[in-house]
Symmetry: C2
Subunit: 337 residues, 2 copies
Amino acid sequence: MSITIKEIAKLAQVSTATVSMILNKKDQCIGDATREKVLAIAAEHHYIPNNAARSLVTRKTNTIGLIMPDITNPFFPEIARGAEDKASESRYSIIFCNTDDSERQEEKYIDILTEKMVDGIIFAHAAESEEGCSGLNKCKLPVILIDRDYNNENVKGRVVVDNEKGSYSGVSHLIKQGYRKILYIAGAIKTQTAKDRLAGYRRALSENLIDYKDYYVKSGSYRREWGYEAMGQFLNENIPFDSVFCGNDLIAFGAIKKLKEAGYRIPEDIGVVGFDDIYVSSMMEPALTTVKQPNYEMGYRAVELLIDVLEKKNLESNHKIVLDTELVVRNSTRLLK
Amino acid sequence: MSITIKEIAKLAQVSTATVSMILNKKDQCIGDATREKVLAIAAEHHYIPNNAARSLVTRKTNTIGLIMPDITNPFFPEIARGAEDKASESRYSIIFCNTDDSERQEEKYIDILTEKMVDGIIFAHAAESEEGCSGLNKCKLPVILIDRDYNNENVKGRVVVDNEKGSYSGVSHLIKQGYRKILYIAGAIKTQTAKDRLAGYRRALSENLIDYKDYYVKSGSYRREWGYEAMGQFLNENIPFDSVFCGNDLIAFGAIKKLKEAGYRIPEDIGVVGFDDIYVSSMMEPALTTVKQPNYEMGYRAVELLIDVLEKKNLESNHKIVLDTELVVRNSTRLLK
DNA sequence: CTGAAAGCGCTTACAG
DNA sequence: CTGAAAGCGCTTACAG
């Protein structure tokens, strides 16, 4: 146990109110002599404030909850790091929670974070469904949504990625390189994210006067296995193609695996573009061009926005920050036609 | 704001003490009628306890700090997940902190966690040096060290990996496959981890009557660039070899890159074994056999041990848990000689 | 079996 | 410029 404010007050022969004010820098109106004496005593005894006591009266904990599906999914560490960096800069801490996409877990963590009196929550609701998140509806805390947009009245802000534009830029890149028959292996299809990415794909095609064909598109899940399987289906169906746009990098890895097994070279024979740019992309598949999601920034900006909402007491806020993707072109040895 | 204990007491016409006891299940001696009435009211008003108030008197927050170098380093998410899973099972939360191997950051976070009154700290001090961690010396909180062993009186336990045995098993595997001239590209050399891994390498050699040669071993850092560079040096020096044991997987990736550039096939020509088994190993380099560190388990066991220390008030504890590695053999197509 | 009371360490009007 | 006092919501001896 560290020394308390009361003990400092006794040593300095002042009241606890004075000590409190000095320690909190609300001391415009306090004599220099008093201030110095108090500060000296606090330093000497290595005073550490008791946040529980402070929180009890201020109703602030300087703690933020970060709810996400799974930190071991390589998609999330960057977000977590961005969030923690901004939090730490602003003297907040982050409590992190893994939900494994389970609504029950989400609810449970929202309850726990409420008990812990966190000041707000950064929430990555990554379930495939667009239905309501029941936990969110009950939640009394300010929430910033990340990555996936979602309608809910408790949400005070969102930080998302411009999926339509990202997808557009990836597909346009393929077209500029001379590819024309571009398959699309999507992950989910019902979510807004998936719809936006598909829209970008279509816009790139149409602006380049390429017809959109239904049978060039397959949707499944954001997993490597799906990329592998979907690619296999396309090959079986003998659909002519010269390139593949994938809903995320994992799908791309699966597709590339299948393509390589079938004897294709990447990208000399077949151009492949993924989405997300998870950590392994550059190490694992130097041929994979990727539409990179700014995940670090997403975490960072989300915390920034939350703190803004908290400190301005701007509880009616409903900001939406849309981040741009970046096209990371790797080893595209194919020449322009 | 949720309802308070006082309001429940008023509604139920009992004292707050009674309500508190019932809610905390310290109610062996309380009448069923009273209990049911209180519980019903609490449920009806969706009572959520205020942890700050509780912590103030119990001096417990049910929160644990996790200090590690960097969650975006693929080594750490598994640890973090294991820790969070165990914490969550036992109704604890985890505050996570990234230090970037900086002692200043470590100290800063220890101070913050002390203010936040976490019950204890899981600490991955990953600096290369074996010198003191000044933050740890000042720290008043119980600390469990993970991954790297380290002497300090505030440490109440450690969860580490049997590096000597792991290294021994990896090198033995190479020998069993018929390789005899085994290079060793180490990361750091001064740390205990590095020394243990070297010791395991030597023991495997000696048990198989293979001479240890100084010039077969190079040490640098745990980075891909170092693996690439060291492999280049070995090639330049024209040292005869048939396999490489690497201090970690990243080094192995670098070494493999150089080997492939030099025209070798893995593992047909050259056997390579890494250490750690970071996430990408299996996806990226299917030829890479790895001594896998049980990182998830490390996080899990560390929190388990910490909670044990906390709840048994066993503050004199100095447990050391040594986890075994697991050899993950991938695509070892080389035949036994 | 239950209640009255003290107290955890702090902040915040308010009075002077 | 500073102090006395109330109170945040809870738990814990203690008394009955």
